[in-house]
Amino acid sequence: MSQLVLRLKAFGNSELAWRFRNSPPVIFAAVVLIVLVFCAAAASLIAPHNPFDPATLNIMDARLPPVWIDGSSSTYLLGTDEQGRDLLSTIFYGMRVSILVGIAAVAFSMTIGVALGLIAGYLGGWVDTVIMRLGDIQLSFPTIMIAFFIDGVAKIVMPIGMREEMRFYVVILAIGVADWVQFARTVRAATMIERRKDYVAAARISEVSGVRILLAHILPNTIGPVLVLATLGLGVAILTEAILSFLGLGMPPSQPSLGTLIRAGNDLLLSGEWWISLFPGAALVLLVLAVNIVGDWLRDVLNPRLR
């Protein structure tokens, strides 16, 4: 217990924390982010309605405006969408999906990228060449193209009834697969530097296994840049999911992300029911902006060359 307190205190005195306390916009962004993530994570507890229990929906409540406009209902703070779902609740749930997709996609590309980067950097030789060449080929395809591919494969291999449920994983894969290269490159570079250092040589001599050296000694030294890449990648991943949704490749209407909600609302942009696309759109921009501000700040702070 006291250990934890000590650590927290150490963190509080660290430069990171000091810098954080001295950047009001970043504090604000972090607070916004925490609130959004909390709303998303606790959606099932705090959302006024459960928009995904079809039995509770009443189609007669469809397209009610936000409470401050005439003709609204006080039960629906931000109004309802075309199906009569409470928009605020839908946004909470949608944000949860967006954040989950984003985190999972980044975690996926990070895992693959870090692993391949470590291997390439540590082993060198032809393994390194093959992995890096694969990376070059990967970079020849824009994310959207890769998503088309993966979406296509998924449609073929999955039985019809599974497609909708598996969509979540397909989207994660489609976004995540595109991004491993930059992780791999960063980690490889760091690994190559660490490999030449004395402590690795010492560990080798004492017959510590390669995997152990990689995980216990080299990996911790690459965490900083990887963390920065991951934070900035999170914003990009959430945005990419929204773009894929717009093109019809994102999350399905039965488990909508913010992107799916915007796409559905896009058709209503000119019809006067602006809230159906505007509120999810605002939520998306706010979320990505908050992530980016924090990520940007982290990068500036953790980049030793800029100190």
Partner: protein, 321 residues
Amino acid sequence: MISLLATRLTSVILVMLVVSALSFSIFNFLGDPVNNILGVNATLAQREELRVALGLDQSTFVQFWRFVERAVVGDFGVSYRNRQPVVDLILARLPATLELVMCATVIALAVGIPMGVYTALKPRGLLSRSLQFGSLLGISMPQFLIGMLLILVFSVELRWLSAFGRGEVVKLGWWTTGMLTTSGLKALIMPTITLAVFQVSMIMRLVRGEMLEVVRTDFVKFARARGLSDRAVYLTHALRNSLLPVITITGLQIGSLIAFAIVVEAVFQWPGMGMLILQAIEFADFPVMAAYLAFVGFSFVTINLIVDLIYLAVDPRLRAK
């Protein structure tokens, strides 16, 4: 140099092969173009007949091999959707997309670099901070949202700009351009802005970052020590040294711009490559899909190669290796 070219060319060919293989094995299952051609009233026998005529009854491998055989001599077949040779189709759509991408890139450089320099020079100023925030906002908004908002304001409410298409275009050989007519230029405005927002923000941040780094290097310190004014140091020494990576990244970004153009083209009905691939997907038009992907892969690798060669020419240290 030659070995670099050789490895790169190998990877070009590898990429093309991988792409066509993937496109073929995948797209064949995505849907049946026969339905779109024959309509709902066709009988099973007629469907089968057309499938045979199109070679769709063959195994995927045979179809793929035929595709490769023809692709090697530059024949990508005929589009199922509009019955034009695929190569003609791509060439006809290419100018629209390239023009859009080029305009967006020029704007991104013209706006992004000065903004980057300014924010690096005066990092604590109010304008700098707003620009910084604006750039973060720029990379936080999906393009289709920007595009739709622009249409809502400038087409529907103000009626200043056209919501769709390229306006009037002028033919210059096989190239078509919208830059020689008023309607063509007006039509370019909103799609270009939509596509450029992300690039502007990115380039600004890149320039700022590079400048801040270069400023800390020794030779800038020396220049200062020699009594050069801050302005001279920043604009001549620091900026020049930070431009190389900027140009590299910009070059590499052109590829992803072609991809993002899909979204912009979908919003503004811009008759470019992005519209082409979206329509092809909708129609299960395999020849167009396969050729498009091979083409995008090819241009990416080529751009990378050119960027590397420029680097090689500019930076003597790399040549020595």
